[in-house]
């Protein structure tokens, strides 16, 4: 069995209202060193199989079709077999 992780983030240039709000909250707590913050999604998957390349390709399809919305989101994925 393989374990996979998918990270989904908003594309550059897309305003992230949640990220902006959290950034302001951190600043109000005195963490002035925080210059930017963006909120994303993290998913863990368990996949049957050991073919790392094949699984990465399949997972990429899953991201394109459902897990991410390519109009506003980018994704990164890691597969450990």
């Amino acid at each position: 069995m393989a374990r996979a992780r998918v990270y989904i983030t908003y594309k550059e240039g897309i305003l992230d209202p949640q990220g902006k709000t959290i950034l302001r909250a951190l600043k109000s707590l005195g963490y002035d060193e925080v210059e930017n913050l963006r909120v994303g999604k993290y998913m863990e998957l368990e996949l049957a199989g050991t073919d790392k390349e094949g699984l990465e390709k399949r997972l990429g399809e899953m991201c394109e079709k459902l897990l991410a919305n390519p109009i506003i989101e980018d994704y990164d994925l890691e597969v450990d077999v």
Binding site: I14, L15, P17, Q18, T21, L66, L67, N69, I71, I72
Partner: protein, 236 residues
């Protein structure tokens, strides 16, 4: 005219739409369960508002894969009329039947109130009965109405007259002050290239009887009936 109102798990404006189409507009209307794939006999398919599949992952993302949506895609490709309201709009975006994507409102709050929207084009089946830049007072109720679309796509949409409604002031001025959710260029509703598929965040079915505070939603229904050659009930 025969309408189909699709019910997804989590739809909650289906009965309102069914009531307005059947009782107020006096049209033939049937519910369509999301697992049904047979849309034969319908002239217009309506995707209602609500929280299909709990809005999990992204609004409309899971509903897009309901069996009925393959049929809705074919129905639209064959020229059938399709309208998505609120969550229905979000589903049409996820399905790629309309361009763009929806994000959280910039204020991070669920907004439920009347807004003014301006008719940007009267060349669509949905607005052919409106006058140019007519202002409609129709309620919104959503958490994800922040419409986003790539710049190049938006420019093409504008050239083709696909921007149908914009949030505006009661006197029809479009500016950031009257943008409730951060939507790009105050966009409240768009159609596809052919004009037979419309998506909008405001709820015309909640503004179709004087008792509910506005009858401006009737402008959209009346346009559609006119366009389809249906005699409009005299009450309207």
């Amino acid at each position: 005219m025969r309408f189909g109102v699709v019910i997804f798990p989590g739809s909650n404006c289906d009965h309102d739409c069914f009531y307005v189409l059947g009782e107020v507009l006096n049209q033939d209307v049937k519910y369509v369960w999301h697992q049904s794939t047979d849309l034969s006999g319908f002239d217009c398919i309506l995707l209602p508002g609500g929280f299909s599949y709990g809005d999990y992952l992204r609004t409309g993302a899971v509903a897009h894969f309901s069996p009925v949506m393959k049929s809705v895609e074919r129905f639209a490709a064959d020229g059938g009329m399709v309208i998505g309201i609120c969550n229905g709009f979000q589903i049409l975006l996820e399905a790629g039947l309309l361009p763009g994507a929806m994000m959280r409102n910039t204020g991070l709050k669920f907004i439920c109130r009347f807004v003014d929207i301006r008719v940007e084009t009267t060349s669509t089946p949905w607005t052919c009965g409106a006058y140019e830049h007519q202002v409609l007072r129709i309620p919104i109720a959503h958490n994800e109405g922040n419409y986003q679309v790539p710049y190049q796509t938006l420019e093409e949409m504008k050239l083709r007259g696909q921007v149908v409604f914009r949030y505006c002031s009661p006197a029809s001025s479009v500016s950031g002050e009257f943008n409730p959710n951060g939507a790009t260029e105050n966009i409240a509703g768009v159609c596809n290239r052919e004009g037979n598929v419309l998506g909008l965040m405001p709820h015309p079915e909640r503004a179709s009887e004087a008792e509910l505070g506005s009858t401006d939603g009737l402008v959209i229904w009346r346009s559609l009936l006119d366009h389809c050659g249906v005699e409009v009930p005299t009450i309207l």
